[in-house]
Amino acid sequence: MSTNSGHHYGYYPGCSITKNAAAYGVSTDAIARILGLHLHEISDWNCCGASEYFSINQLPAYALVARNLALAAGEGATEVVAPCSLCYVNLYKTDKNMRLHPDLKAKVNRALDAGNLHYEPDTLKVRHLLDIVVNDVGYDGVAAKVTKPLYNLRVAPYYGCLIVRPDTGFDNVEYPTTMDKLMETLGATVVDYPLKAECCGGHMTQISDTVALELIRRLLHNAAEYQADVIVTVCPMCQLNLDAYQADVNKRFGTNYHIPILYFTQVMGLAFGMTPKDVAIGKELVSADRALTKITAEPPEKPKTRKRDKKALPMPDMIE
């Protein structure tokens, strides 16, 4: 069975997927199998340049990214899917800027021509893996595969920056909710904490550990305030910063955070009935073992709806 109907997903795994983010790669493959999602890896794809190449020389950076778009289009893809937010935004930005700026389009294609390639902007839709799961598979499609709901696990969805900014239009730029709904679909208790789309520090760890560790601290502090058992991410960079530098944060600030950082695909796999090993749980530095024991077989009791305080003033409804 395939849920691909009408889509041909060119899969762009990104450089980190084999090593640092192997858990992301393994769990993505696993849930894709269960969901009947066919992700066709773009053959011989190259690095997107991260944020570094654009800092050095923009035109080669665009050409570097565009090679992947050209290869994917050549393989008949209708969209390119990236699990990494940084890869995603680079692919998205290249397609968009080539579309909006004919001069850039001409220059990039002159460069691609040296490799006998060509890319016509707008040929492909660049999308994040989360977008595919919540919009193409859909919440109902996900719910249908849930066999072991994650009852009573307090999950803090962490979106970070680049999946929603600058202008991908897939979710709210300041207060995204798609992953919240996905986690609810899996049976988890969603922690709606304010910093869910704030920055993890990105490459700041290389430049100023003072700045980077403070940014990571804020996120851990906020998630801990809201009693999250686990933070769930959509990007290898976010996962790395929050996971690998958590010990440094504790040392620097005298704190004692122990919040495991998992990929959304890993917790999906668990809810689909896979073992932690199936979804590469154990690769994280801050172990998720303790958090996962919180999962219960029975759903949590529905909190009693508190009667409105008579004196309180009405609140505006949120726009959906």
Binding site: Y175, L313, P314, M315, M318, I319
Partner: protein
């Protein structure tokens, strides 16, 4: 080509045209165009001297046609037509070439191109004008009744001015009471007058005025006709109350068990019942039953209001009424909607309980509001010790509205003053620029400085409840760059007020379409001229006043209401209007009676005369669009002033430089 004596006048418009078009060269060149007797250029053709030039030439040189090349005909066509008429020339023998908006202003850096284009446009007008026919404007009587749409302060002012002059007014208001946004306010800047104290007497005057028919809870549904002779259909929504029996005693809404949030008058900060009168001073005094929320209409049970009404005024079976009026002129004063700050997610409105909009705050500090004037947090109890007021919310922001809403600076200052006066505490105004440019406004700003209000020059970046450092817990943190020191600041406060801007009514485009007027790019109604004709529109007989034309404060709205009324009164006083004689006529002798034109006409102005087997245009109904003219397969319908010959000649004229080239052969 007919032989005529054409006078051509090229306007410099100071540097506006002469800066990009070689006007002398165009005037000189035009002398060589067929039929041209006189060709001149002049600094300002619209000046009295410019107009006299035309008049003299008509008289002395015997001109039979006149062409002026200057600005848009929407600007000065009337001016020059009148000049021709004064000199005894039929005004429709005049033609205008727009070499300013369509040439000099759009090709400013290319004198050659702008001049060539000006020549083409002049040539088009010269070729066309010789085919123009003298036409007589139709003089039609004006209905003395004026329709005013919108019962806010601008509409109230307009209605009273006209009614006081002795003419009938129909005032239509969508809500159950007149008063508009001004009725929601507590104090008005900069004098801190009580809003209700100055508004209520005017509302009462409207209710009592013998010349005003007040239709609240009503909307205009259909508009037909033309200036002086509109026929307007108004839907008077069923109040479910027999007004004749109702005393406005209030028993019904005191007993009504159904409470809902009042999104209109209380701006969502308070509740009302399903049967309600929006506020104590409402005009008229009668309540309405909101059938969307009333338990009886939803479930078929309840009727509590009916049980308790001492006069038996509740009428659940009352139906909407459609009323038709003959109307001479219309004044639209439909007001504004407040910008919805939920659209700016970083400000947290709707998520963070203690972030309020400015209208919520107005209701809160209003003695007749949901908190009886107590300044409290969303819990309804806690008095804030510190308040942040955020300027420019939804204004001066290309993501939402590029324009400045003009009133927010001043009402933000008023809020700061009220906080200081009522609860003391710290007040922070976050601003980009403080704009206080009217009488007494800057002085009010200085007064606030003396009161110790903090002014932070920086647009707020975000409002969050996420504490980062000690002192921030449990507070709202307002984060911005204080641009005067170049540093990021996080200021913890108890309450945030978002000074939300003004937006066109959500249905402004539809209302505009109903009355045949347009909206500008920001969505407000377009005035006829931004400086010299701010209350008229391009459609004769339709005027605009107040914020529906653009953001403005109360004094400016009142002035526009009175201004629009004055314009209408001058039309009524004259008793008749002249209609453009741009009408279609059918040459009945050659009409085949196919009736295609009958179905084409959007105004059903063409009747089929069964006896004669021909179609005939009713000139009173015809608006001159010309659709029938183009559709007639026998080509026997003439569209006056836009005839086939006139436009064809104009095409030849604009193609003057390529017209006589041989047609290129195919390859």
């Amino acid at each position: 080509m007919p032989e005529e004596k054409v006078g051509v006048y090229i306007c410099h418009c100071g540097h506006n045209i002469a800066g990009a078009v070689d006007v002398e060269a165009v005037a000189e060149w035009a002398k060589g165009l067929p039929n041209v007797t006189v060709s001149r250029d002049y600094k300002f053709m619209c000046s009295s001297l410019g107009q006299e030039l035309i008049e003299e030439d008509i008289k002395e040189q015997g001109l039979t046609r006149v062409v002026v090349a200057s600005c848009s005909p929407h600007m000065h066509e009337r001016t020059f037509r009148t000049a021709c008429e004064r000199a005894g020339l039929n005004p429709y023998l005049f033609e205008m070439a727009n070499i300013r908006e369509h040439a000099s202003w759009v090709h400013p850096d290319n004198v050659q191109a702008a001049t060539d284009k000006a020549k083409a446009l002049v040539s088009g007008a010269v070729h066309r004008v010789v085919y123009n026919k003298p036409l007589d404007a139709m003089e039609v009587p004006v209905e003395p009744t004026t329709l005013v749409v919108g019962g806010g302060i601008a509409g109230i002012q307009a209605a009273l001015e006209i009614a006081d002059a002795g003419y009938p007014v129909v005032l239509v208001e969508r809500e159950p009471s007149i008063g508009g946004h001004m009725a929601q306010l507590d104090k008005t800047f900069p004098t801190l007058d009580c809003s209700a104290c100055i508004l209520t007497p005017k509302m009462f005057d409207v209710a009592m005025h013998p010349n005003i028919t007040l239709l609240t809870y009503s909307e205009v549904e259909k508009v037909e006709g033309y200036v002086g002779n509109f026929e307007v259909t108004i839907r008077k929504k069923a109040r479910k109350i027999n007004e004749a029996d109702c005393t406005g005693c209030g028993t019904c809404w005191e007993k009504c068990p159904k409470k809902v949030v009042d999104e209109v008058y209380e701006s969502g900060l308070g509740y009302r019942t399903a049967i309600y009168r929006p506020f104590p001073q409402a005009v008229p005094k009668y309540p309405v039953i909101d059938v969307e929320t009333c338990t009886y209409y939803q479930t078929g049970k309840c009727r509590v209001c009916e049980k308790f009404c001492p006069t038996g005024a509740i009428n659940f079976d009352q139906e909407d009424e459609l009323i038709t009026y003959k109307i001479g002129n219309v004044i639209l004063a439909t007001g504004y909607d407040q910008f919805d700050p939920r659209r700016i997610p970083e400000y947290g409105y709707g998520r963070l309980a203690n972030v309020f909009t400015s209208l919520e705050f107005e209701r809160m500090v209003n003695a007749s509001g949901p908190t009886d004037g107590q300044m409290v947090l969303r819990d309804g109890v806690t008095v804030p010790k510190s308040v942040a007021i955020v300027h420019c919310v939804g204004s001066r922001d290309r993501r939402y509205n590029q324009y400045c809403s003009a009133v927010c600076c001043m009402y933000s200052l008023k809020f700061a003053h009220l906080v200081k006066e009522r609860v003391g505490g710290e007040v922070y105004n976050f601003y980009m620029d403080i704009r206080t440019s009217a009488k007494g406004y800057e002085e009010f700003y200085h007064r606030l400085l003396e009161e110790g209000v903090h002014f932070v020059r920086g647009r707020v970046s975000k409002i969050t409840g996420a504490a980062r450092q000690p002192g921030e817990e449990g507070k709202l943190i307002v984060q911005c760059e204080d641009t005067l020191i170049g540093k990021q600041r996080r200021i913890p406060v108890d309450m945030v007020v978002l000074s939300a801007g003004m937006e066109p009514r959500h249905d402004a485009a539809e209302v505009g379409h109903l009355f045949g007027i347009s909206c500008s790019v920001d969505g407000f109604f377009i005035e006829r001229h931004p400086k010299l004709d701010p209350v008229a529109t391009m459609t004769d007989g339709i005027y605009i006043a107040g914020v529906c034309q653009g953001p403005k404060d109360i004094p400016a709205s009142v002035a526009q209401g009175a201004g629009a009324a004055a314009r209408v009164l001058s039309v009524i006083g004259k008793g008749s209007v002249r209609l453009e004689p741009v009408r279609a006529t059918i040459d009945e002798a050659n009409c085949s009676g196919c009736r295609i034109c009958n179905t084409m006409c959007p105004y059903s102005a063409i009747d089929y005369i069964e006896d004669l087997k021909v179609s005939r245009v009713n000139p009173a109904l015809c608006k001159g669009c010309g659709t029938c003219v183009a559709a007639c397969p026998s080509q026997v319908i003439t569209g006056a002033h836009f005839t086939y010959e006139q436009i064809t000649a104009q095409i030849d004229g604009v193609l003057f430089d390529v017209l006589h080239q041989p047609v290129a052969e195919p390859v």
